[in-house]
């Protein structure tokens, strides 16, 4: 039984078919990567699955429930969590507070209790803080907890986003280019982290350009080009797939032509 099922998803922006008729599914604990040349529609796909865009066509099923039209915060309540390609960090808050906010669904309570700083409210805050510190340690940001989030490096902020997304205790985690802009060491750390999280039973949907990482950790790969799925399968098969190779080489060839001309 698949945990996340995408059926015939599509969306148009003005006259442009950004994504069209994309279907695939995810089982619990599976790592599926979505790859494709730039502009293939990967982030748009993510945005549809995570409720940021309303799909024009198709369905998104989470654990058998049709969640296609749900807004992001309702999807979060059903255990779907994500990170962002262009980091969406809360810059004015500390690193710790960023991670604590990820616990919103667990810690949210009565606003009156919060205003009066009642014991229940303070206990909630304490618990989230402890959990947040553990998460920060896990992603290697333990010592930066009290720093202002805006002062961290790009790679560190990527890890912070993952920590925040994990705070939700998600069943499905969407990672949008988690290793982008990271050096080899950071990439490997993220690699391990993802494998660990999947081992705990979380389904992971990954958009990534780092092919070595993708080949190494994915159970399954979906390839998009110009908004459509052109291939799907195990890493080894995908690497040999002529259509995939053409899509990437084609993209490179076009870029090369434009650079000359």
């Amino acid at each position: 039984m698949s945990l996340l099922q995408i059926e015939g998803l599509g969306i148009d922006f003005g006259g442009l078919r950004a994504v069209n008729d994309v279907s695939f599914s995810l089982k619990a604990g599976e790592i599926v990567s979505v790859i494709g040349p730039n502009g293939a529609g990967k982030t748009t796909l993510f945005n549809m699955i995570s409720g940021v865009y309303l799909p024009g066509r198709g369905k998104v099923m989470l654990d058998g429930e049709d969640v296609t039209r749900l807004s992001p915060h309702l999807l979060a309540r059903r255990g779907l969590s994500r990170t962002f390609q262009n980091l969406q960090i809360f810059h004015a808050m500390t690193v710790l507070e960023n991670a604590v906010v990820g616990h919103h669904l667990h810690e949210r309570g009565n606003i009156l209790a919060d205003l009066l700083s009642l014991p229940a409210s303070r206990r909630s805050s304490r618990e989230s803080e402890e959990s947040a510190r553990r998460l920060l340690d896990r992603v290697g940001l333990g010592r930066a907890a009290e720093q202002e989030a805006g002062s961290l490096s790009y790679g560190a902020l990527k890890r912070l986003e993952i920590a925040r997304a994990l705070a939700l205790k998600p069943r499905v985690l969407l990672l949008d280019e988690p290793a982008a802009g990271c050096n080899a060491v950071e990439t490997e750390e993220i690699d391990h982290l993802i494998a660990q999280v999947a081992a705990e039973g979380v389904s992971i949907l990954l958009v990534e350009h780092d092919m070595k990482m993708v080949m190494r950790i994915s159970n399954h790969i979906v390839v998009l080009d110009h908004g459509e799925k052109i291939a799907e399968g195990e890493p080894a098969a995908i690497a040999r797939n002529p259509r995939v190779i053409e899509a990437y080489l084609g993209a490179q060839a076009t870029e090369a032509n434009n650079a000359d001309g």
């Binding site: 982030t43 945005n47 940021v52 865009y53 962002f84 262009n86």
Partner: protein, 268 residues
Amino acid sequence: MPELMQFFLSGITDFAQGEFVMLGGMITVFAFEAGLPLPLAALIAILGTAVIGVALNRLAIEPARGAPVVSLIIITIGASIFIRGVTQIVFDKQIHRFPAFSGDAPIAVGGATILPQSLWVIAGALAVFIGLWLFFTRTLIGRAVLATANNRIAAQLVGINTKFIMTLSFAMSAAIGALAGVLVTPITLTSYDIGISLALKGFAAAMLGGMGNPKGALVGGLLLGILEAMTAGYISSQYKDAAAFVVILAVLFAMPQGLFGRKQTDRV
């Protein structure tokens, strides 16, 4: 009513806009009463207001570029309060008018009467509208203005002198505002504090038609004018001014993008 059509055509969202209309009227009044012939007084008013608009941009808005929206709003409100404060000292707090351009005798048009000045206003509005349309579509500078408004950095990259463009935009919108003030004062009178309600009505008209859309703003202004007249007639003349605000709230309830606007999407 016609004053609104004039007013929002200037199109830049800033609270000082109402003050430019006020300045147009007030300066003309005092220049005229100082003995200058009306056309010259009006010209001085329009040019003077344009200069003030440029000064506002240079001194208050440019230095604060990049600041959060709240700060910018406060700056423009501060500017409008400042202008009002200066006006009240330099001129006075009384209500003023000057004679209509072609006399005060109403003209009968098929059962209704209309003031000749209103015809001037409508003519002025149309002239400005057509002029702006030509400016934005036919001239290079006009398109440069649109480009800068759309994406300032990109405009700079293609060689547009954005500082000059901004100066020009402010000068134009101030001048148009002043022109509106000049044309309308014989009908509605003027005093130092009419700026706010004008600014708000301008916003209401622009929002009704969809922000950033001149055609829509024109329609919006018209509709707003009609609504005001109806309110004055059927409900109470005291609440005439409230029509604008009720419109704002109603539009936001029902159609946040106005009649002709487009839905906005965020890039993630």
